[in-house]
Symmetry: C2
DNA sequence: AGCTTTTATCGTACATTGACGATATACGAT
DNA sequence: ATCGTATATCGTCAATGTACGATAAAAGCT
């Protein structure tokens, strides 16, 4: 039974949603990264191939290059992927512990809040 | 290498995001439900208590009743919780297989697209 | 230097989210 | 019937998300 007066209020939908806070924030931020089919598709692609040049990702999707770039940015900022500059192009790959961390955070929802 | 011409284009951000389509959609829809700290908090509460009257949920959060109700609706529509009408109040509980299904879908991202 | 390729960012347009107060609805109690 | 409690929904507002084309930035090639 919290105060009800401005505690979680207006997390500035996009901003605070990413700013990890109590653990809810961390989980929500990662989930947010997966919350669009295009981003799931990108992650699946990276999962299958291990890594992928940005251009190849764009070619695999029915979206404009600018749009894909935006989704890549979201995935990067939410911690799902990393991009390594390779000459004129960028090679993306899944962030190592991301999925594991996500699953751990999910565990906390199952029953208690055991960390 | 898809056609690039209108296939995934404009999924109507909110609508089609929920309409399961290829599997990306299903995962994205569930992730969407978790993509806000308030909803994670609600799920955690339900996880801890097993079930919970709507009013108790509202009391546990620093948000207006109307806002909590909206979040509950999202959680319901994305398949995370169920609400059972109990006289004048509503008792919410986590949907049985939701977490399991979510984790299964997550598996598909790990390496191949093995289902 | 100049051109091409590759990716990110800008600017824009529109729909949706998330928050709220106010109101409607449903049910039980008096 | 009427009142009170418990939830959902409506209407609104500011802010964000998603998509695009156009443009900038970075790197290699001629």
């Amino acid at each position: 039974m919290v105060d009800r007066i401005r505690l979680m209020k207006r997390p500035a939908p996009g901003k605070a949603r990413r700013a990890a806070g109590k653990g809810e924030e961390a989980l929500a931020a990662l989930a947010w990264g997966l919350a669009h089919p295009a981003r799931v598709a990108i992650l699946r692609l990276l999962g299958e191939r291990g890594e992928c040049i940005c251009g190849a990702i764009v070619d695999s999707m029915p979206l404009a290059q600018a749009t894909v770039s935006q989704h890549l940015k979201v995935l990067k900022e939410s911690g799902w992927i990393e991009g390594e500059i390779d000459g004129p192009r960028v090679c993306y790959c899944p962030t190592a512990g991301a999925m594991t961390r996500f699953k751990q955070l999910l565990q906390g929802l199952e029953s208690g809040e055991r960390r």
